[in-house]
Symmetry: C2
Subunit: 329 residues, 2 copies
DNA sequence: ACCGGCTCTGCAAACGTTTGCATAGTTTCA
DNA sequence: TGAAACTATGCAAACGTTTGCAGAGCCGGT
């Protein structure tokens, strides 16, 4: 039923080789023949079988992307970037969600390995040990995780953290809480690093946590924060920040009048919250695209000359309504 | 470098046929040999090449799923269900985002067709005409779209709409606005159908719209609603409802005291909004799983006996804080 | 002793491509 | 005019599997 290269060849009155070449190495076949072949193919509705092609070329034209949790609104946006760029580069993408489970993640990489030219690991949860087992089975590109000299795109948060600190300082805050995310997370380490770099003599930082990077952890964090007597909060991410704001509202603490709140990620709902959340926007979609770029680069270049293996994306503080000058007590 | 069936055969001292059979038709090979083969394969780290297998069996072991827009929080959740169920059934899934573009969507189906055993179309934006062109190129399963006698899983909203209406009526609302979503959308038609079914003599419905199903359309809708003098709103979806609430807050209309608001979808941020949004929860993840079930069923059964081609999932009103008794004016 | 029927295994052909090598035709140049 | 160098095409082997067919060995019944 499906139309093969043989059908096209027969119909066009040429050999299969010619048809094949008309598609893959156009300059090897006479313009006239080429046109004829292409038209016949079009007329018959021929589309090359990528599996068969892959069998011989060793390239599949696919790659995989693994995310920890699709229901975390952070990931769909980077996925969107991956998606878009992949299509431009004529790759198809396999998606997998490992449910925050490192073992599952490793299994997925191994399962994918044969069907793809490479895989993009988004905020990988794997231990170094597990990583060692999969590195080498296929080409890997990491997003927001730095592992040895593997290619990676990193959304450096240091700059954003500095902007957040300076913003709060300018408003007059002198005692600020930072709510840690998961201890093992690269992102959290990165954000703390930014915190230390941005340290200033006129501001005291109170570190709390770690907390789960989820809305549900907000109340716990909020209660601790209130007890600390700070005037502003920087949360590990927006979900946590929103959870905190929700609890603050319940406890009658007005945001931003009595407590300023800053998040990280700029997930869609950050702008829709009341009050809209001041947050550090990451370039998720661009990160996705960059990861694809890195990967195709890795696959097409000779391999010897690595090129740029690391791409750092900066971020940007977006000031909305959840931050203002502290109430004078 | 990669280990093939040949390597295993040589190492185990049997023919490739035997190795192949040890994996695919275990009862055709002597238990003892089988064990030996399996162990050798394990030791060498052999994983069958699905492309090669697919070439001969005609099955790829993959399927595709196409969504209109990954950044719409509705889709990642159903995607998650698809994902999970697919893995259980030992399928890999291709993901594509058509950016709300019907033409793109059609192209994607055609591009995928050769690499998959079937594709799941999520809230397809294609016209009937475009659909006719792709039906038949591969097996299709629809989510939230009813097209001829193609298999589909539908999240019927009628029941949810009735619950919403009854809820508002019980609270004492007598004049309620419904904010339409996109005119052409199956979901919107379905919700209006539920609206008519739930019609009651003691309640007047004011239909407004259509509006884009997005947060940004909220202000426009809110302003119209205020002018209508209703005491409650049922919005086409949560994004729109949240946009409306945001505008209501800006205009000093208190929710829920002066205006009750009901959404549809129960996206994650519905529960995180202030006030938390009363909404009709769809079983997204289950819908995703059901779609996969339908698809594998379609592929494995003889084909003649269709089985159940349509799966209807009901939904559930979740009452939160955005609805209450109307203020007496 | 022989035959029929098992059970297990191997041989080789296929699946739809790409590609190295060979060939036929055309041009270039001495 | 003939060799050399291209250009355009075809032939056939390969990629890693699955599977129809056939053969080898064994068992039980006559």
């Amino acid at each position: 039923m499906p139309v093969t290269i043989q059908d096209v060849a027969r119909e066009a009155g040429v050999s299969v080789s010619t048809v094949s070449r008309a598609f893959t190495v156009p300059d090897l076949v006479k313009e006239e023949t080429r046109q004829h072949v292409l038209q016949t193919a079009e007329r018959l509705g021929y589309r090359p079988n990528r599996a068969a092609r892959g069998l011989i070329t060793g390239k599949t034209g696919n790659f995989g992307v693994i995310v920890p949790d699709l229901s975390n609104p952070f990931f769909p946006t980077v996925l969107k970037g991956v998606q878009a760029r992949a299509r431009e580069a004529d790759y198809a993408v396999f998606l997998a969600d490992c449910d925050e489970n490192a073992t599952e993640e490793m299994a997925l990489v191994q399962a994918m390995a044969k069907q793809v030219d490479g895989v993009i690991l988004c905020s990988s949860r794997m231990t170094q040990n597990q990583l060692d087992r999969v590195v080498g089975t296929t080409s890997l590109v990491f997003i927001n995780r730095q592992v040895r000299d593997n290619p990676a795109v990193l959304m450096g948060a240091a700059g954003g953290m500095r902007q957040a600190i300076d913003h709060l300082a300018a408003l007059g805050h002198r005692r600020v809480a930072f709510l840690n995310g998961p201890k093992a997370s690269w992102s959290n380490r990165e954000r703390r690093r930014g915190l230390r770099q941005a340290a200033r003599h006129d501001m005291e930082i109170v570190e709390l946590g770690p907390f789960a990077p989820r809305f549900e952890a907000g109340p716990h964090a909020a209660d601790l924060v209130i007890a600390e007597g700070v005037t502003a909060i920087i949360a590990f991410n927006d979900l946590l920040a929103l959870g905190v704001m929700s609890r603050l509202a319940d406890r009658g603490v007005a945001v931003p009048e009595e407590m300023s709140v800053v998040g990280f990620d700029d997930i869609p709902m950050a702008g829709m919250a009341t009050p809209p959340l001041t947050t550090v926007a990451m370039q998720n979609e661009r990160a996705g695209r960059a990861a694809v770029d890195l990967l195709v680069n890795l696959l097409t270049v000779s391999g010897a000359d690595a090129g740029d293996l690391r791409r750092e994306l900066d971020c940007q503080l977006i000031v909305r309504a959840s931050t203002t000058v502290p109430a004078r007590s």
